[in-house]
């Protein structure tokens, strides 16, 4: 099995791990967004709370969630390790005149994935503390829908988004995610070797749309809840 560890510890293998965990996270975000858009329903939180209950009790979802936690950690930790290794590869003396151009327009995102990712990680720490941890271990009020008693996560979310500070924090974090994705989406495919003149422009196009729409979708939720509740 040493061929496998040789592969995973090679430069290309390590980047492929980043790519695969990144793609998993990209898929996760879509599911997470669709679920959370239910917060926009004007029903006192019934749809959202039932959904949250489903997500925390269904065995298939729970198994996938463990994979998610693992992949977040792998993506972040491997990312930091590679960031460090790459800085060492650059050497102790930097250039006096700094320019880094790219083919295409995502020069800022491409060159700052490490910082963007770190900010996202900090966002995640707060986000998970605020909602996920409360859901798992906190004392949440209960809600009753047709005899089914579930935790009222909606109430927690509403309260959080009454605070304009948090709303701004979320919107800014979504912008950061947008930048991270605008490079990461197509980069993940390139790293896996999925590149062909027939479909790479399509992948890049989908990536751009995704990187704008998904964070935008997430950002709408706190803004809407702040403005209209």
């Amino acid at each position: 099995m040493s061929w496998f560890s040789n592969f995973l510890t090679s430069s290309i293998g390590r980047k492929m791990v980043m790519s695969l965990t990144g793609i998993f996270l990209i898929l996760f975000l879509v599911v997470h967004l669709i679920g959370n858009l239910q917060l926009l329903y004007d029903d006192g939180g019934e749809k959202f709370n039932l959904y949250a209950n489903f997500m925390t009790t269904n065995p298939l979802i729970k198994t996938t969630s463990y994979l998610l936690y693992a992949f977040i950690l792998i993506h972040a930790v491997q990312g930091w390790l590679l960031w460090r290794k790459n800085r060492q590869a650059r050497g102790p003396q930097g250039y006096a005149v700094k320019t880094t151009k790219t083919v295409g327009t995502n020069s800022f995102a491409a060159n700052n994935m490490g910082w963007l990712g770190t900010i996202i990680f900090l966002f995640l720490a707060i986000h998970l503390y605020q909602f996920w941890l409360q859901m798992k271990l906190g004392n949440l009020p209960m809600a009753n829908y047709d005899g089914q008693e579930v935790k009222d996560l909606y109430a927690i979310v509403s309260v959080a988004y009454e605070n304009v500070g948090f709303v701004i924090f979320y919107v800014v974090s979504m912008i950061v995610i947008g930048f991270h994705l605008i490079h990461g989406f197509q980069s993940a495919f390139q790293t896996l070797g999925i590149n062909h003149s027939k479909y790479t422009p399509f992948i890049k196009g989908v990536g751009k749309i995704y990187a704008i729409l998904v964070p935008l979708g997430f950002a709408i939720i706190p803004v809407y809840m702040y403005l209209f509740h």
Binding site: W3, N6, F7, S10, S11, I12, G13, R14, K15, M16, L82, K85, N86, Q88, A89, R90, G91, Q93, G94, Y95, A96, V97, K98, T99, T100, K101, T102, V103, G104, A110, N111, M113, H183, Q186, S187, Q190, T191, L192, G193, I194, N195, S197
Partner: protein, 248 residues
């Protein structure tokens, strides 16, 4: 035109090195390296040490020259090596900062000359085809699809100058290694050892201490032969399939 040059001077690999400022008078007809020759003759006439920099063909084809000029390897022009940069692109009063390639895998030898033998070791690890060189075959004996041949030719244009490493924020050698691997992997003669080659060259590249590719694509922008990052995707595929499926 009167120019101010800020040039990196370093006596030896162990010397810390520093920038020195020089003033030089150049004509727009000169090439960049000719301008440095003029500077060097002035320094020698003052019994000072001239600036060491590498060059050979001065034609843009050998891959020896390589200076980072105002932050760009090989200067501002697309698809142009340092030796083909001419002073007509500069004007009187310009300040030009000249640095060597910066990468742990390319230690500075002296002034602007760096040690690029890491590239040689990567090629030695597998950048070749093992064939018995008897009488040459008829050129059309082995059929090859025209686009394959064209892609291989484009990849073969790599002159091994190392500008890709210099341009990359991670000092990655992926564009170079992928060009060399692609050039051979696309040809029937190269397919025989393709898996062995991809693994061996990547292993050597990692040992030399180059960084990892984040698909920033600065390499393609600065490459004097305009090698494309599609070669990097190809190397990723070759390496993955070799790692998973090779016999050894």
């Amino acid at each position: 035109m009167k120019l101010t040059l800020k040039i990196w001077r370093q006596k030896s690999p162990k010397d810390k090195g520093r920038f020195e400022t020089y003033k030089v008078e150049a004509s727009p007809h000169m090439s960049f390296l000719e301008m440095l020759d003029v500077l060097n003759e002035e320094l020698i006439s003052k019994k000072e040490e001239p600036v060491t920099f590498e060059h050979d063909c001065r034609e843009g084809i050998c891959g020896t020259c390589g200076l980072v000029i105002n932050g760009q390897p090989h200067g501002p022009n697309k698809g142009t090596a340092t030796c083909q940069l001419h002073m007509r692109f500069y004007k009187d009063g310009d300040i030009i900062v000249i640095e060597p390639y910066r990468a742990s895998a390319f230690p500075v030898l002296k002034d602007l000359a760096v040690d690029r033998s890491a590239f040689d070791r990567i090629i030695q690890a597998g950048g070749y085809i093992s064939v018995s060189t008897g009488a040459p075959q008829d050129g059309n004996a082995i059929p090859i699809e025209k686009d394959q041949a064209a892609k291989s030719f484009d990849a073969a244009a790599c002159i091994g100058c190392g500008a890709c490493v210099a341009a990359c924020p991670n000092a990655s050698a992926m564009l170079f290694v992928s060009a060399k691997v692609s050039h051979l992997a696309l040809l029937p003669q190269g397919k025989v050892e393709a898996q062995r080659r991809a693994q061996a060259m990547v292993r050597q590249m990692d040992e030399e201490g180059f960084g990892m590719c984040s698909n920033v694509t600065a390499c393609e922008v600065e490459c004097p032969k305009e090698i494309s990052v599609t070669n990097i995707a190809r190397l990723n595929r070759e390496y993955l399939s070799a790692s998973l499926g090779s016999e050894v």
